[in-house]
């Protein structure tokens, strides 16, 4: 029905608006009018989303920047303007610098540990074997679990004399037992392992999806040419998986910079406040809400935003450029 009406429509509008259903009595739209209509449509359809975005993303961001310029404890309106003092204070606080270092460890550690594991598992699960679906599901389970659940679970497993300690002792590796969550030099690595356990499934699923897009003909052709499995993976699968790997890296970096919940739940407040397990986000909540330094907390939020934003821009500029350019050229050709 609609398609017939649309072909009858002298304006040839592709929309399903009521206008398209009454073609006969309409005078043909001029090009300008059609253009205008298109813009009204765009505005009409995007306005609700834009309003929500502006109200709940841009305006709060503006407020955060504004509040970050005040010495303000959240009682009464902010009145004591201090300029950039809050920012200077943050970079002078050794605990904030610890938090920065921890974020860096998580960013790099996640890429270096999760990347190879995810790739290996994805390649393995991409082969046909019995029970493949079950394995794919199992690998993905940790990612589906709520962060708080994961945090509490690992807290219990890693507690003094808990499951991990008992396991190590029963294997005769009692000397490896650590105060996993209490030793200030160990805790960040413990947390990195928990994060890896939690998020590696996401990387695997992404890579599996990427692998399913690698054309079978290419690997078959390579096989016929006498390439072995390793050669095929190295020279065909990996290069074609590039865009997926880069997108995963992007998501992983941004996620690592903003990580909060698993850290908040698993690590204890004392260890966090000593800097050993703090991240920028936990530092922000500890200072903004618990020490009630609202202005300062906002400054930390802005710093976190700027770092993430710059990281995102740099990544797009240097690593995602090829992928994005590809998309744009494809559209131009059409």
């Amino acid at each position: 029905m609609t398609s017939i009406n649309q072909t009858l429509d002298p304006a040839g509008g592709a929309s399903a608006s009521p206008a398209g259903l009454r073609p006969a009595r309409r005078r043909p739209f001029s090009r300008a009018a059609e253009n205008r209509r298109k813009w009204y449509e765009i505005i009409g359809l995007t306005t609700p989303a834009i309003i929500v975005y502006v109200m709940f993303v841009l305006v709060p961001m503006g407020f955060a920047v504004y509040y970050s310029l005040f010495r303000w404890r959240g009682v009464g309106p902010p009145t004591e303007f201090v300029g950039l003092d809050n920012y200077t204070l943050a970079f002078q606080d050794p605990i904030f610098l610890d938090a920065l270092r921890n974020n860096a460890i998580i960013v790099v550690g996640s890429l270096l540990i999760q990347g190879p594991i995810a790739l290996a598992v994805a390649l393995l699960l991409n082969r046909r074997f019995r029970g493949r679906t079950v394995f794919r599901l199992l690998v993905f389970v940790p990612y589906v679990l709520a962060e708080v659940t994961v945090g509490i679970m690992w807290k219990l497993i890693l507690t003094d004399g808990g499951t991990v300690d008992a396991l190590l002792r029963s294997l005769g590796l009692g000397s490896l037992v650590q105060a996993w969550l209490a030793d200030l030099n160990v805790v960040i690595w413990t947390l990195l392992l928990v994060l890896t356990w939690k998020y590696v499934g996401f990387a695997i699923i992404l890579l599996l999806a990427g692998l399913s897009n690698v054309p079978h003909e290419l690997t078959e052709a390579a096989e016929i040419d006498g390439a072995n499995w390793w050669q095929i993976q190295r020279h065909i699968t990996l290069p074609l998986l590039g865009p997926t790997i880069r997108i995963w890296m992007f998501l992983s970096i941004i996620g690592s910079l903003q990580v909060f919940d698993v850290i908040w739940v698993t690590s204890v407040p004392a260890v966090r406040s000593l800097g050993a397990s703090a991240t920028m986000a936990t530092y922000m909540v500890d200072n903004g809400f618990f020490a009630r330094l609202w202005g300062y907390g906002n400054a930390v939020a802005v710093i976190l935003f700027v770092i993430s934003f710059v990281a995102a821009l740099l990544f797009q500029r240097f690593l995602l450029r090829r992928d994005i350019e590809g998309a744009i050229t494809t559209r131009r050709v059409n």
Binding site: G74, V75, G76, D160, V268, A270, S273, F290
Partner: protein, 435 residues
């Protein structure tokens, strides 16, 4: 143009909804004067921290219902919000708006001082003279510059909860009354292979409370009062507190890995260690009797072995040996709350209502006469000591306000972790006071 008309309609719709939204948020602004009390129907919104199902929540529901039955013009709308959320985010945000709750949880001290300075709270000095008289000096925690802004419904001091059976086995004659005796007890307990003291340093404040007590012993009452009002920490007694604490930690009285041990609420916490016979002592507030119960595997055994004694004195120190740290929970009325709010506040702390509260065993009541309901021997000794206290110092992190409080607790925990120092605690407090 049809399009123009449509945009016009959208605009009209947007404006109407904005107006509607604005209309909904306004409304209950009228404040009847005292002689109009109970004449006009009013709704009191009440925010408290009994968020989980349990005796506390049921109790508040009953209190609200009973009050409405007594005064049919008053409807009470209550909301229970988890303490941290209530204190750190919900209340501060609500108080910034023109429509805060009428009556809400108040912990007194530095936070209340800030709220008064921002003109958030109703002065209830005149209306609550009788109640304040009944509560005694501790009501000062909810007063700022001599004016009363709230009333407590529970209050208690902190002391050391201990395992009487372990003490007997270790050959400790009686509860230590000085720190020398306490050190002696620690040595004896170690000799029988028992963790002398459990501390939930993971949550920071249970560890910080040790420092508070050393400060209470090292500093004169006047110094502490001045510090609370002016947030000035120049007196050398604050450094002395840290030195005493460091010396005490060096005797290794605590369990292993205490830096990751939570304070309460689960069997691996410091609470759990004491409740399940894995440690001999724990420094904790009056509410501990109830929380020990929740983590004990054998409640009957716990009831038999648990005892309580006040924090020991330190010989030749400037502090008052009979002073104690403590605190409580109370309520305050918002500046523009109806007059009925104050009546409800008074009702909450009236002896009959308090008697019922005392029976719940979740905290010690404040009103004189209501304590007769308490049967537990350990709680009775807390009550007795509270009554004998010459000076009740509010928990220092509450007294100094959240900002100094957090910096202080963090740097005390650093002493526990071995990375801090007595001087750094004072420095951090001074720095935070300027933040």
């Amino acid at each position: 143009m049809p399009i123009k008309r449509r945009t016009g309609a959208v605009f009209a719709l947007l404006t109407t909804s904005a107006l509607l939204a604005a209309g909904c948020s306004g409304g209950d602004g009228e404040t009847p004067s005292a002689d109009e009390l109970y004449k006009n129907p009013v709704t009191l919104t009440w925010w408290h921290n009994a968020s989980q199902d349990g005796p506390g929540k049921t109790y508040w529901e009953k209190v609200a219902k009973d009050f409405s039955a007594l005064h049919p013009t008053v409807t009470i709308k209550q909301e229970g919000i988890e303490t941290n959320q209530l204190q750190r985010t919900r209340l501060p945000a609500a108080l910034l708006t023109s429509d805060p709750p009428d009556i809400f949880q108040a912990w007194g001290g530095g936070e209340m001082r800030e709220q008064v300075e921002a003109d958030y709270l109703k002065d209830v000095t005149e209306q609550t003279k009788t109640e304040v008289g009944g509560i005694g000096k501790a009501a000062e925690i909810w007063a700022v510059d001599g004016k009363q802004y709230g009333l407590p419904y529970k209050l208690g001091i902190e002391g050391i909860w201990y395992n009487k059976e372990m003490f007997a086995r270790a050959g400790i004659a009686g509860p230590p009354t000085t720190f020398d005796e306490l050190n002696d007890a620690v040595t004896k307990l170690k000799a029988i292979n028992v963790v002398p003291i459990a501390v939930g340093a993971g949550d920071k404040w249970p560890a910080a409370h040790w420092w508070y007590n050393f400060a209470l012993r090292a500093c004169s009452v006047d110094t502490l009062k001045k510090a609370s009002v002016e947030t000035v920490f120049d007196d050398p007694c604050f450094t002395k507190a840290g030195q005493d604490l460091k010396a005490f930690i060096d005797t290794k009285p605590f369990q292993n890995n205490f830096i990751a041990t939570p304070g309460q609420n689960d069997p691996t916490s410091a609470n759990g260690l004491l409740a399940n016979g894995k440690a001999a002592m724990e420094l904790m507030g009056d509410w501990n009797r109830g929380t020990l119960d929740t983590v004990a595997a054998d409640k009957a055994a716990l009831g038999k072995f648990i005892g309580w004694f006040p924090v020991p004195a330190i010989a030749n120190s400037a502090g008052d040996p009979k002073a104690a740290l403590g605190g409580g929970d109370g309520f305050a009325c918002a500046k523009n709350a109806p007059a009925e709010c104050v009546e409800f506040l008074k009702y909450i702390v009236s002896p009959e209502v308090q008697k019922e509260y005392a029976g719940l065993n979740i905290g010690l009541p404040v009103a004189k006469g209501s304590e007769s309901v308490i049967a537990d021997t350990a709680l009775k000794s807390v009550l007795e000591a509270t009554a004998n206290t010459t000076y009740l110092q509010l928990w220092l992190d509450t007294a100094f306000g959240s900002t100094v409080g957090q910096a202080m607790n963090d740097s005390i925990v650093a002493i526990f972790a071995g990375s801090g120092s007595p001087e750094k605690v004072v420095e951090a407090m001074k720095q935070a006071a300027r933040k």
